[in-house]
Amino acid sequence: MAAPVCMEYRIEGNNFMVAGTASNNIKNTLKMLGIQSDVCRRAAVIAYEAEINLVIHANGGILKAVISEDKLEISTEDEGPGIPDIDQAMTEGYTTASNQAREMGFGAGMGLPNIKRNSDLFEIESTPGVGTKLISTVFFNK
């Protein structure tokens, strides 16, 4: 069993211009490992949406990707405002994004639903006032 490949990114809050770098990096790494194209695409979408969530909602945080031989785990951790009602946040179209974010084309209320749709396993844990933890897993050979 080869040692897992870990990648960690510190995502800055409200910095829309660099959003996408982590996602792109993760996708390219998966390609170098020879992971199927569809999995790479799903991973890129998950990482991107998670990254965007940190940028617009959480005032930044940490995004981690751990690649093992059979799966990829993307997790985020932040000390943002937290999500009071997770079920509501998982509804397509529901958003609390700022006007600034929406003017830039973000905050369509598709982020979390999109992450869930592309994940094989999906976990989210949030405490208002403390922060949010998210773990998404994608298996390579299903």
Partner: protein, 439 residues
């Protein structure tokens, strides 16, 4: 794999301009000589723009030979009609070509571009929301960019052959001739399309030369006064507008029943950004994407004769009829029922080779690669002949090159060696040692 970029090794000074601008990182300098990794090259021509010593050029067919042959038949790219300041109307230029005894496929191009736009409009209206937006295939470099860097988007590329090839097919059908057909192309990407067709096995086109070569050769003939110029042909000129960004989009819109959301971008950077945003699912609600790797559209190709700004300006003054007449519509519908436009060979991805053929070993290589990368200076200077420190680390673990290819690592190595020499020189064998330090 066929390409249309040629390298003059004598002219190359080994500067690293081209290495850095290549969007697919396909260029290397090995043993002082530039080389292109064929599997990665998309023939976009960005490297040509960055070369200040003319060490890179377009590998085209021999125009001097082609024009001497009897009854040369030309398939002009729309760009060709934007290159002359003194033939303002496309039909003037048509007359000029005729007076020089060239047979030019204009009627066929009219039909083919209408058919192509109609087919795209049909495909859009028949697609469900989830598979939209579709992507234009007119720029061959965009297709190859998608094949190499965004293979997940291939299913969105419209399965419609290039209208330039459809025009050639229509002509062959009408004349039942297998005489050579020469494409006047504005860029290496379209030249390669003839040599290495996509979407079909054999191209109906035979040769390809640059618009620049042919435009200059016609300019050299001097001002040609065409007699009987008095009967201007009534042409819609829609197809000529494909030479600039947005021309195809407008044409597709003209054949659509409803208002489409179309994104038309030009330039390498804009194209890359658009495709990346699309891949990340950011472009919802868009129906069609027209990308051209050259700025301003095809008029910005590296094989054109005149300024892209002037060419674009001239296209704006060409009278263009965007309303489709019922006759034109039924012509397009009739051609649509024939099998001359759909691709017959599916577009295949051109993915990079993984580091190793199984994930476990590839992961070991990846860790090694990270370690090598961490030791490099991260300034992407290009002195090692590779586009970036990342690319160098990757090549080392793939077995091509060593860390000392890096000028900074080499210096570190020499300095370490030097201090070791000093240290060694201080230690002498016992037989040579004398008390009091004398030898």
């Amino acid at each position: 794999m066929e390409h249309s970029i040629k390298i003059s090794k004598e002219a190359c000074q080994g500067c690293v301009n081209c290495i850095r601008v290549c969007p697919t990182e396909a260029i290397r300098v090995v043993d002082g000589e530039i080389s292109i990794i064929e599997e990665l090259c998309i023939d976009c021509g960005e490297c040509l723009r960055s070369c200040c010593r003319s060490a890179l050029g377009i590998y085209e067919d021999d125009w001097n030979r082609i024009k001497e042959s009897s009854r040369t038949t030309l398939v002009p790219d729309p760009v060709f009609f934007s290159q002359f300041s003194h033939y303002g109307r496309p039909d003037n230029l048509e007359d000029v070509l005729m007076s020089l005894d060239f047979n030019t496929l204009i009627d066929e191009a009219d039909d083919a571009f209408d058919l192509s736009a109609y087919a795209v409009a049909q495909l859009i209206s028949r697609s469900s929301r989830t598979v939209l937006p579709l992507i234009s295939v007119y720029c061959p470099a965009v297709l190859r960019l998608i094949q190499t860097k965004f293979p997940e988007l291939l299913s969105r590329v419209v399965p419609v052959l290039s209208p330039l090839e459809i025009a050639a097919t229509l002509w062959r059908m009408r004349t039942n001739s297998d005489a050579p057909l020469t494409l006047l192309a504005p860029c290496p990407a379209k030249i390669t399309m003839v040599r290495e067709p996509h979407g079909k096995r054999v191209s109906p086109l035979t040769n390809a030369v640059t618009v620049r070569k042919v435009a200059r050769s016609i300019m050299a003939e001097g001002d040609i006064n065409v007699e009987n110029e008095s009967v201007p042909r009534k042409r819609n000129n829609r197809w000529i507008q494909w030479a600039r960004r947005g021309g195809e989009s407008r044409h597709v819109q003209a054949f659509s029943d409803k208002k489409l959301n179309i994104l038309a971008v030009s330039g390498m950077r804009n194209t890359l950004d658009t495709l990346q945003e699309l891949e990340l699912g950011r472009l919802r609600g868009v129906d069609f994407i027209e990308c051209r790797v050259c700025d301003t559209g095809c008029v910005g190709g590296v094989g054109t004769a005149d300024s892209r700004f002037l060419a674009n300006l001239r296209l704006g003054t060409i009278e263009t009829e965007w309303n489709i007449t019922p006759k034109e519509l039924s012509r397009a519908e009739e051609l649509f029922t024939m099998d001359i436009w759909p691709v017959t060979n599916e577009y295949q991805p051109r993915p990079r080779l993984p580091l190793y053929d199984n994930v476990a070993d590839a992961m070991v290589k990846l860790q090694q690669m990270k370690e090598i990368y961490n030791g490099l200076p991260h300034i992407d200077c290009g002195s090692c002949g590779r586009p970036s420190c990342q690319a160098m680390a990757e090549e080392i673990v793939r077995g091509h090159g060593s860390v000392t290819d890096c000028i900074f690592k080499l210096r570190e190595g020499i300095s370490a060696l030097a201090s070791q020499i000093v240290k060694l020189s201080e230690s002498q064998p016992h037989t040579l040692k004398r008390k009091g330090g004398k030898s």
